[in-house]
Each structure stands twice: as structure tokens, then as C-alpha cells.
């Protein structure tokens, strides 16, 4: 444990604590009966909660309520968006078999796109990224303009989950819309940390999830324009515009709305505070480990990078050794990716950015959130010299063997 004997949580990009207000709303709703699709009084009450929540969420995201389609979270929303758009657009015109994609998408988009390529004959154009983790927009433009009639959909995440680099969504939208091609963006990491205005963005579909912004795990939404009709993944009772059948999770949705509302209301002040904490963290790391490399866009702001993520390479160390040693002191962070067996694989995002295998494995992601404090950052900086020395020694042993 660290000196205070408490957990120092620096992994808010994985999931962030629920707002107490969201817990209160969810707990209250769990005590109520009523299927939102039932016609009786209890059903109507549940439906009212859902629709009021939908209105709140839509307002927070600059969308119309009818554009908010609830589902289980980011993975499902991404699957619905990309598979649904691919299937429906190709059904309308068999020539549309291409997906323009980026090299730094989360597995929740990478894997469904790969699946479409393997099982549905989709052709994939992967947009490369620069060292800072931003897509090369000219490459995307070239991929689209080469043969726009064959593009089923374009997808680019709003902000990368490992480095926090914000993508040029405006330009992506402009390129695709010149040809009437729908654009999806995975905004899971961005939501909560940069203002999102769905209407102003020009996007056709956007993924958000509650647990990254102080809501519960298990609920998210695909925000999608009314006139776009992706082929559903789930067939059944026809809930959620017939796009996502399944009994509606009223308590989850109510808590999602509460969390998003609080996050958006506090966003300006929280982001400023979190950015200061990140600076304290980065300065501290550089002080105690002078050769540490802070990755990504150094510039703060909604066109550059998220305020809450510090992605750092520790040359000569293995990230998983450092994670274990920090964990033993109650300090929790992330190596940036994990696979089913828990075997650390070098992140495809870092490799796409031009990092080699060793640098990719030698990196840690520290991510801050609404509950982060200076004491959290200071605990990390206090522990880091010892942890770093041990991890470097272990790495030398490994190289020698």
C-alpha cells in the first residue's frame, strides 16, 4: 500500500467512479416495477423515465431525442453502427463494399470491421496515423475520393483511448459528406472531457457509453440520425426504433442521464482542474524519471488531446512489471491494452503510430477523472522512483537471459 493505505486510482479511462447522484437515481429506479413497453400505469411511468432521460441525454449531446438509441454500451453501439451501416448500405447498392477506417480504433470497432472483412467480403481501407496518434487526413481523403461510390461507411474515433489524441472529425465529415457517405465516430473516450455537439459535428452516428462519465456499466447509446437505418443486430420486440430490441433498462438509462447531465454541467471547471492535475503528473514523472517520454499531442484543448490521459514510455522498462509494482502499492494504472488471457500484447495503436514493440510494451497510461486529487498524483510520483528502478533491473535480467 502507499503511505495513506488507500487505493490511488489512475485508470479513469478504463472506467470512472459513478457520481453519487447517479447511484441514488439508479437505486431508486431499481425499486420500481414497470416494463417501459407495457401499456398500464407502471409501464407508462417507466416509459416516462426513459423518455425524459433520452431528452436529457440528447440535449447534453446536441442531438434530438429520437436520435438516441440505447444499447448495452460502446462495443454494441460500435457493432450496430459499423455492421448495420455496412449491411444496409450494401443492400441498397452492392457496389458499396468498402469501409474507411483508422489504424487506431479500439478493438470494439477494429474487431467488427475485421469480422466484416473476413465474413462479409468487406474491403477495408485503414487510414494511417502520425506519431502523435492523429490520422493522416490526406490519406483518408485519398481513400474516399479514389472511388467514393464503393464506400459503405467512414468511421474515425473522436479521441483515441490510449493517448487521448483528438481526431479531425470536422475534416473527416466534410470529405465523406461531399459524396453522401455516412460517417460514424466512436466518442466513448471523448464524452465527458470535450464538448460533444452531434448536430454541429455533422456526424451520422456517434457512440457514447455511460461508465466512462460517471454512469453505470452496461448502458450506452448509438446517437444516429433519423434518416439513417442501419440493419439491426438484435431482433425481437422492436424497441429503440426497431434498431435494438430488448427490454429497456430503465434504471441504467436514468442513471446514465443523471451522470451525463452532471458531467456536462461541471465540464468546464472539471476539465480545467484535471488538466492541471495532468500537468502535475507529467512534471512529476519527468522530475523523477528524466528519460520518460510523454507521448501524443503535447498541446491541450479540444482540437488536440483529452485533458485526462497521460501516456508515458519508460525506456528500458516493461509496462506490465511497472503496473504490477505500482499495484502492490495500491496505485492503479493501465498498460493500455489487454487480451483475453491477460497476456500483454503490444498495442496495435502504438505500433500504428510507429512505435516499436519494445517501446509499446514499455508504456503506461495514467488517466484522471472527476474524483482525482493532487494526493493521487503525488502518491504516484512518490512511488515511481523505486518502481522504476526495480522494473528496469527486471528488464535487464530478461535481456541477459
Amino acid at each position: 500500500m502507499n503511505d495513506s493505505g488507500t487505493t490511488v486510482y489512475l485508470d479513469h479511462a478504463a472506467t470512472t467512479p459513478m457520481w453519487p447522484e447517479a447511484i441514488a437515481v439508479m437505486t431508486e429506479e431499481l425499486g420500481r416495477i414497470g416494463n417501459a413497453s407495457s401499456l398500464h400505469t407502471s409501464g407508462r411511468a417507466a416509459r416516462r423515465t426513459v423518455e425524459e432521460s433520452r431528452e436529457v441525454i440528447a440535449e447534453c449531446l446536441g442531438a434530438r431525442p429520437s436520435e438516441v438509441v440505447f444499447c448495452s454500451g460502446g462495443t454494441e453501439a460500435n457493432n450496430l453502427a459499423i455492421k448495420g451501416l455496412f449491411w444496409s448500405r450494401r443492400a441498397a447498392d452492392p457496389a458499396r463494399d468498402r469501409i474507411v477506417f483508422s489504424a487506431i480504433e479500439h478493438h470494439a470497432l477494429l474487431d467488427p470491421v475485421t469480422w466484416l472483412a473476413t465474413h462479409e467480403g468487406a474491403r477495408i481501407d485503414t487510414t494511417p496515423v502520425c506519431r502523435e496518434g492523429r490520422i493522416v487526413i490526406d490519406a483518408l481523403r485519398e481513400a474516399v475520393d479514389r472511388d467514393p461510390a464503393s464506400v459503405a461507411a467512414v468511421t474515425t474515433m473522436w479521441a483515441n483511448n490510449e493517448l487521448g489524441t483528438i481526431q479531425p472529425i470536422d475534416e473527416v465529415v466534410a470529405i465523406a459528406q461531399a459524396h453522401g457517405i455516412p460517417v460514424h465516430s466512436d466518442a466513448v473516450q471523448a464524452a465527458g472531457y470535450v464538448p460533444l455537439d452531434f448536430a454541429a459535428s455533422g456526424l451520422d452516428a456517434m457512440t457514447v457509453t455511460a461508465h466512462k462519465l460517471g454512469g453505470p456499466v452496461g448502458i450506452g447509446a448509438l446517437v444516429i440520425k433519423r434518416e439513417i437505418e442501419p440493419t439491426p443486430l438484435m431482433h425481437g420486440g422492436g424497441q429503440e426504433r426497431d434498431l435494438r430490441s430488448g427490454t429497456i433498462g430503465v434504471p441504467l438509462i436514468a442513471a446514465f442521464a443523471t451522470a451525463l447531465q452532471i458531467t456536462v454541467r461541471r465540464q468546464a471547471q472539471d476539465v480545467e482542474r484535471i488538466e492541471r492535475l495532468r500537468q502535475r503528473l507529467v512534471d512529476g514523472v519527468r522530475r523523477v524519471v528524466p528519460d520518460a517520454i510523454v507521448n501524443g499531442d503535447p498541446e491541450p484543448g479540444p482540437d488536440h488531446r483529452l485533458p485526462n490521459i497521460a501516456h508515458i514510455t519508460f525506456p528500458g522498462c516493461e509496462g506490465d512489471a511497472m503496473l504490477m509494482l505500482l499495484d502492490a502499492q495500491g496505485i492503479e494504472c493501465s498498460t493500455g491494452s489487454a487480451c483475453a488471457a491477460g497476456v500483454p500484447q503490444p498495442s496495435h495503436v502504438l505500433l500504428a503510430m510507429g512505435y516499436d514493440d519494445v517501446a509499446a510494451r514499455g508504456s503506461l497510461r495514467f488517466s484522471l477523472g472527476h474524483s482525482s486529487t493532487e494526493a493521487d498524483v503525488d502518491a504516484l510520483i512518490a512511488a515511481l522512483p523505486g518502481v522504476h528502478a526495480r522494473a528496469r533491473a527486471a528488464s535487464l535480467v530478461r535481456d541477459a537471459s
Partner: protein, 365 residues
């Protein structure tokens, strides 16, 4: 109290060993070794040590014990030190034991070294062997009390330095008691079957696996007179002492079963003959590893020549000039192949081990 890494395979033994280390007051961190670059390519399910399911079982056991748990990727080290060696040994006509090799190079080397560098004091595993303090303070390794489970043979490659950082809490217990203890502790792996065979040969088909790695290497099976009995597509599919699956077609003149007597790797010639020709009275061994001090002069003890094999009374002598170990067996062994490990015992105590390079018969039977 020591800070220990518990190597947790996902099986019942390593789970109970970790539990006992926790009970003994140690600060234990569970580690599952990922040994395959592609976990799906190794044996899956309950039989091996390398599958995703096994990693999950190990994680659940660590959860029950309330200890931290991580997966360490040792796939590169394992491929280099164990798998490549296994292939090269078969290619050279020898019979390696990859479990010994894994203990020597991975579990009590790469893993132990990493643990020590990270600030741990040692490694605890579910091997069945007993560690005791010797007269001069050194660590002695003895056979487990459960003779059927005793694994001192596959640990015979460990040096004093390695033994000094090792913990084998199961050596004083028999397997049924370990299973009962796992059940009592609420470990879900209590009834998981024991692992057998070689973890990286997914379907247990050793010859087929080697054929994939080495490709066809046609050769002949001959009798002791050199008469060709059949052709084969790879001498690596044969092991000295093998009787089954020779598919010789015609019976021997005397009608007795025939066994693989010799494998000549360059020409791929496999010689078969009667069992008495498999008799071995002496061994020349190389690459000795001693658990403590090397024996001074001739040692009258016992040797074991394969996992779960019989003990043979033997006189063992280290030849200083060549660094080899000469072993005279008092009672003959049968079907001993170069590449196998000769583990040397003094009573129940492991003295050391060496790799069999040549075998000799003193008299023609």
C-alpha cells in the same frame, strides 16, 4: 515472511501450494505463465498448462486466496529454450524431456530471476518434492512422500542457488489429500484432471507435431543385420525402446516382439531388435548440474532415468578432466535414450543430474 511469486498453472497442485504459502504468512503474488505466442495453439482444456481456460482457472484460484494475480508472458523464452530445443533434440536423434528443460530455463530461471529483480524473495510451485536444510545450512531436495507423484526427477536440474529461492509446499502430502484440501478451501480446480504429456503439443500427437515442424525426412527401419523392413517419413517419430506402432509387417524370425534399438539421425536409419538388446549397464552423461557440492570421488547411490521411472542402484563418478559423469548400473535398465536426464540420488536426496549422451551394455545377452 517472504515475498513470493506463486507460479499458478491453473491446476489443483499450484493452487494449493499458493494457498499454503499464504497460510505460512508469506506475501504471495500469483503469476500464470503464458508460454504460447498463440494460446489457442497449445493444448486446451484441462490437460495442459497453457490455455486461456487454464489462465482463467489460475485467476479464479488467486481470487479465492485473495492474492494479486498477473499473467507473465514468457512465450519468447519458452519458444527459444524449450520448444526449439525439443525440436533440435529430436532432429539429432535424441529424446529430450521438455519439462526438465522448462524447470531449468523458465520456471526456476527466467521467472525466478525476474521475481528477484522485481523485489521478490523466491518462487513457490506445486511440484511434489521436499526441501530441507542440510547439515551445513545448504538446501537439500528430497523425494516427495507420495512416491506416485514425486517430481524430484523433473527438478533434478536445479542448482543450490535456485533451490535456495524455491518453495515446494506439497512434498509432504499425497495427491488425494491435496485434492481434498483444495475442495475444503473452495478452490474450483479441486477436481480438475492432472495434466499429462507435453503442453505445447496440442493433440498429444508427438510424431505428427514433429512432422509439421521438421517436414518429411524419409529413411528406413532395419533389423540388426541391416535388412530393410520398411520405410518411414521421419526418424523423429521413433523413440528408443518403442515397441508399439512400428508396423513392421513381417514378424521377427523368432516371433518375439521387436523394439527400437537405435536411431541414426543423419541417414534416418532406425534399427529394431529384441528386447535384450535394449539392456543398458552403463551411461556416459554430459552437462552435469549439482544440487549442492559436486560429489567427491565415487558416489554409491541410485539413479532415475525417466519421469516416474524405476530407481537403479548405481555408482556415479564425475570425471573432472572431461566434465562428464560415468554411471555404472548395478541392475540393468532397458530402453534408455540419449537426451534423457539421469537424476542422481543419495537415498531420497537429489545429488544432481546430467544428460545421457551414450549408453553401454557390458555383456551381450
Amino acid at each position: 515472511m517472504s515475498r513470493l511469486i506463486a507460479a499458478m498453472s491453473g491446476g489443483v497442485d499450484s493452487a494449493v501450494a499458493a494457498a499454503r504459502a499464504v497460510d505460512a504468512g508469506h506475501d504471495v503474488t500469483g503469476v500464470h505463465l503464458a508460454l504460447s505466442r498463440n494460446p489457442r495453439s497449445y493444448r486446451s482444456g484441462a490437460r495442459g498448462c497453457c490455455s486461456i481456460e487454464d489462465a482463467g482457472d489460475a485467476r479464479r484460484a488467486a481470487d479465492v486466496l485473495g492474492i494479486p494475480f498477473y499473467v507473465w508472458d514468457m512465450s519468447d523464452e519458452f519458444a527459444d529454450a524449450v520448444v526449439d530445443d525439443f525440436v533440435a533434440e529430436y532432429e539429432a536423434g535424441r529424446t529430450p524431456n521438455p519439462c526438465l528443460r522448462c524447470n531449468e530455463k523458465i520456471k526456476f530461471a527466467a521467472v525466478l530471476d525476474r521475481a528477484l529483480a522485481l523485489g521478490f524473495d523466491g518462487v513457490v510451485t506445486g511440484h511434489y518434492a521436499q526441501l530441507r536444510e542440510g547439515a551445513s545450512g545448504e538446501v537439500e531436495m528430497h523425494r516427495a512422500i507420495d512416491a506416485g507423484k514425486d517430481q524430484s526427477y523433473v527438478l533434478g536440474v536445479l542448482t543450490q542457488e535456485q533451490l535456495a529461492h524455491s518453495h515446494f509446499p506439497l512434498g509432504d502430502t499425497d495427491k488425494p489429500a491435496v485434492r481434498a484440501e483444495a475442495e475444503r478451501r473452495g478452490l474450483t480446480v479441486a477436481h480438475k484432471p492432472d495434466s499429462h504429456d507435453i503442453c505445447f503439443v496440442a493433440d498429444g500427437d508427438n510424431a505428427g507435431w514433429l512432422r509439421d515442424k521438421l517436414g518429411p525426412r524419409p529413411g528406413t527401419v532395419v533389423d540388426e543385420d541391416g535388412e530393410v523392413l520398411r520405410e518411414h517419413d521421419g526418424a523423429y517419430a521413433f523413440t528408443i525402446g518403442q515397441r508399439r506402432g512400428l508396423r513392421l509387417g513381417v514378424p521377427a524370425d523368432d516371433g518375439k516382439p521387436r523394439f527400437v534399438l537405435d536411431i541414426e539421425p543423419v541417414s534416418g536409419t532406425v534399427t529394431v531388435g529384441p528386447r535384450e538388446q535394449l539392456r543398458v549397464d552403463a551411461l556416459e552423461c554430459i552437462r552435469p548440474l549439482w544440487a549442492g557440492a559436486a560429489p567427491d570421488g565415487r558416489l554409491e547411490g541410485t539413479v532415475q532415468l525417466r519421469a516416474h521411472g524405476d530407481e537403479h542402484v548405481a555408482v556415479v563418478e564425475l570425471v573432472e578432466a572431461t566434465g562428464t559423469v560415468q554411471v555404472e548400473l548395478r541392475d540393468p535398465a532397458f530402453g534408455i535414450a540419449p537426451g534423457q536426464a539421469c537424476v542422481i540420488y543419495d537415498g531420497t536426496r537429489v545429488v544432481g543430474s546430467a544428460t545421457i549422451a551414450r549408453t553401454r551394455r557390458l555383456t551381450t545377452a
